[in-house]
Symmetry: C2
Subunit: 339 residues, 2 copies
Amino acid sequence: MHRATLREVADKAGVHPATASRALNSATEGMVNATTAARIQKVAKEMGYTPNPIARSLKTSRSSSIGLIIPDLTNPLFPPIVRGIEDVLRPVGYNAWIVNTDNQQDVEASAVESFRQRNVEGFVFATAHLHHALLEEMAAASTPMVLINRRLASADIPSVTSDDSTGVTLAIQHLVELGHRNIAHLAGPQDLSTGVTRRRAFRENLEERGLPDEAGRIVVCDAWSEEAGARGMLQLLDSGVPFTAVLAGNDLLALGAYDTLAARGISCPGEISVIGFNDMPYMDKVYPPMTTVRIPHYELGAEAARLLLEVLDGPERHPRSLLLPLTLVVRGSTGPAAA
Amino acid sequence: MHRATLREVADKAGVHPATASRALNSATEGMVNATTAARIQKVAKEMGYTPNPIARSLKTSRSSSIGLIIPDLTNPLFPPIVRGIEDVLRPVGYNAWIVNTDNQQDVEASAVESFRQRNVEGFVFATAHLHHALLEEMAAASTPMVLINRRLASADIPSVTSDDSTGVTLAIQHLVELGHRNIAHLAGPQDLSTGVTRRRAFRENLEERGLPDEAGRIVVCDAWSEEAGARGMLQLLDSGVPFTAVLAGNDLLALGAYDTLAARGISCPGEISVIGFNDMPYMDKVYPPMTTVRIPHYELGAEAARLLLEVLDGPERHPRSLLLPLTLVVRGSTGPAAA
DNA sequence: GTGAAAGCGCTAACAA
DNA sequence: TTGTTAGCGCTTTCAC
């Protein structure tokens, strides 16, 4: 099955290829006589002409596509984000190349390199670390990009994140209203903005409310994983710090905490309440029911895509960053056993 | 930051671009004098040369990429499949373009069209319907492709699916061993091979084992969704057919069945046992614990990628299809209340 | 074994 | 307003 080329359209319409090109691109359509333009467009339609994106890309160094860099698609957090991005980009003619880095810097670097060779016009990164040499370089070189979910420490890169501080406040407020006073925190990795922000907000909340806040009631987990959460919970239990509730840095850590509590035969939420963070898909099915802070994943992706389009549209404007609101989803938490 | 071109490498090495091209492509490297080849490669390395994939693609009509067409990435079934595909393709230099169709034929068609324009070398489809005009056409035109998870009725297209019949047998055998005799089936859509195969296997199993098999104990759901499963379960309960166990066509239908049972105040597995299919991620967290048939998602993807590479390697060979083995994951089911 | 020449399909100066 | 020309970076006949 032969695919019509611009040349063939031009020949059939009796014009030069350059004229046909102009007539078929909205930006240059105005340069050509309205009736010839119409004729060319009609012929193009009849012949089923569609421009060859590869030839176009070779010529223009553009590509109508962006690179999306995430840690791991099988983390249920990301599929809704990806859909949000694509649902915004597709209608305006953009595609996204997705790559999973599994948190490996070299994979990320070579992905960026490979995207560049393919003339991607911008990037969305969900892999930002607080200190991230590659991203800092790219920002310094004015590469169009948007961070999602996580940010850098030195951050004037446009980003879309959730309002984690407020989320933590909602969670703690909920626990306090239930009567908890001794609350612990399973913090996420401290080289990521999410881990740091939630931990800081946790500490601030304890202080402001006059709740016990010895250092021991925060345990830092070394990954956002169920296993790390299980280990963290063990450490917390063995530390001797008294607590009746735990705020986990995210749902996976919370699930790990569940595992440890079950293994130790500690009833939940009877003896210890656990609150998660993210409300990732299918969290509503777990048992015991888990209260968690809901992040609008799909919207996070959609807003990131809009922001990137804005950046691509006019790189001169000052980069905006967005903080999306969170809500608390109350499912299972109860007051402390002693109350 | 300037990126070296083949021309620049050739100039620096004192050869013609054509020679440099030959020296830098493993397939043509043999055509050039070994020492000049080595010199060219050294220069290329020093200059950090990497071939421009777009220029190459324009010239060769190839692209080192394939198109992957799935219904919806947010269905937890698919992320592991996608990772399996990518983990096999990446090491051999291939990339995958992913598109979500949301089961819309026109979206699928335009995705295929757009992939073709980008010179994808093959396709993986996870969207096959039993009768699927587009796929039949493409197969007739010898388009390199592999089906995953689902197949066509008229199937000599290479495919990688799970051995659903055996899976159903495992599930029913398990229920029978627990003492169940009255078993019902929430079947999936009957325009998909998975829905049909599991339903047929269910009926055959009942017959062979001499279990009650009136028509009423199979309810066909109109989608693989929780909502459809909930509706199906309602219909089953209201039909008056006696049953103590239900085999759901997949986990989402099973979760829907849970919802209906909970809404009706029917204890599970006390009064009615539910068995799922797929063991999708995080199924081990649901409550009540669900016994389900595990499909090796990641391997499904990996095998599909290998099969596609085989097809791309030598299109003349007879298309193979793979049936991957399933296992039963026993979590919660119990014998019937009456037993 | 190497070079010359052509061209994949398109767009963007420049000229008319 | 339209046509001419050139070239994005690469590969591949064909000639030597």
